[in-house]
Assembly symmetry: C2
Homo-oligomer: 250 residues x 2
Amino acid sequence: MNGWVKIAGLGPGDPDLVTPQVTAALAEATDVVGYIPYVARVSARPGLRLHPSDNRVELDRARHALEMAAAGRRVVIVSSGDPGVFAMAAAVYEAVEAGGATWSKTQIEVLPGITAMLAAAARAGAPLGHDFCAINLSDNLKPWALIEKRLRLAVEGDFAMAFYNPRSKSRPEGFGRALDLLKQACGDDRPVIFARAVSTAEEQIRVVPLSQTRPEMADMRTVVIVGASGTRVIDPTGAPVVYTPRSVPE
Amino acid sequence: MNGWVKIAGLGPGDPDLVTPQVTAALAEATDVVGYIPYVARVSARPGLRLHPSDNRVELDRARHALEMAAAGRRVVIVSSGDPGVFAMAAAVYEAVEAGGATWSKTQIEVLPGITAMLAAAARAGAPLGHDFCAINLSDNLKPWALIEKRLRLAVEGDFAMAFYNPRSKSRPEGFGRALDLLKQACGDDRPVIFARAVSTAEEQIRVVPLSQTRPEMADMRTVVIVGASGTRVIDPTGAPVVYTPRSVPE
């Protein structure tokens, strides 16, 4: 039996944003592994075992998937968005490296998906239309000082910024500090987009000037996009549209 | 007649990476507008007019699409990858803003796609698994000094980096200067991925240590990904896999 692991991105929520490649992998799978709410997005069918697990057990989940594949099963690890952006793909390769030769015959593939910041950007206009950074604001796995350093450098480089995991119940304070830093560093009142649950029935898109942002505008289902200095807010049809022009003048 | 403009991402090339949302928009369209090779990816059918145009006429193309929509036609503007990343979405909103009230009743929607850097990252492993920047290396629309500034700051912030439009026939020298800058600034021999024509029959993925990179390894169909300091190259099954761990130690 030839087992495999495919690390698949389910996109932000709308089934119409799941690629045919991922849909085909799920149709061939014997097992689906992932964080509880992501596995819940996969339709049950005879012959398919679902293995939902809790947050923060990424390495255990990766090893479990690799073990099942080595035993000949066809395993899809599901991530929301894209699996390569703050998600399961890196965790699987960490487990592979830690395993030495253990997984040398296991076929592993990453299937990209629509990541949250690009789905959010599409709904808001084109705020990431020029150079940008993606920053995970969770300090579970890196020191907070590094997050602040990256924010300052991103502002200095005049990148637009997309923030993943801006705020959780266990880390309520970091995002407020990040907003305070940006208010001081940016020196202007650039637009900030709070995009919650994009492409789902609970979708909410808010465009707020930086000076009026408050930490409680975000939760863990929110992606936050901060414009660059040249980012524009226009209102062509009665709803704000945010875009970053393609040109930067000399 | 209710016309509309949908700015749609076709993904990197493989039809299995086109979202059902984009496929549905193309099925409803009366007109498809875009750069010649992207329009060539859309299947002809009765009732669908194809309007391929050359590169560097983005604003003309945007206005043409808006005019057709105002006349009641259903227009899809196609981009490769994601339309919000160095592509047509920003150009359309530039045209909308320049038009004042002209397009105030025109329905415009952006349909996200799999952008090149994420397709490339998936094929290479998970090199963008931690904080990263996306930088357009073309200096058609911004000063070269700004590109160099952003490269230096991205290195200082220890971001992984993805470069779009690294090299064209009309700008053969910039990418060599960028590589020279990186070789000096990084202070280590981190992995660089040259991902050409990802997900097509011509796909080529090369992983090269920074010191051995040469400008001619990239062309305009290449996305280049440069790892962060912690990015790892492993070789679990005889082919190099590049990933950036999720953690940064204190």
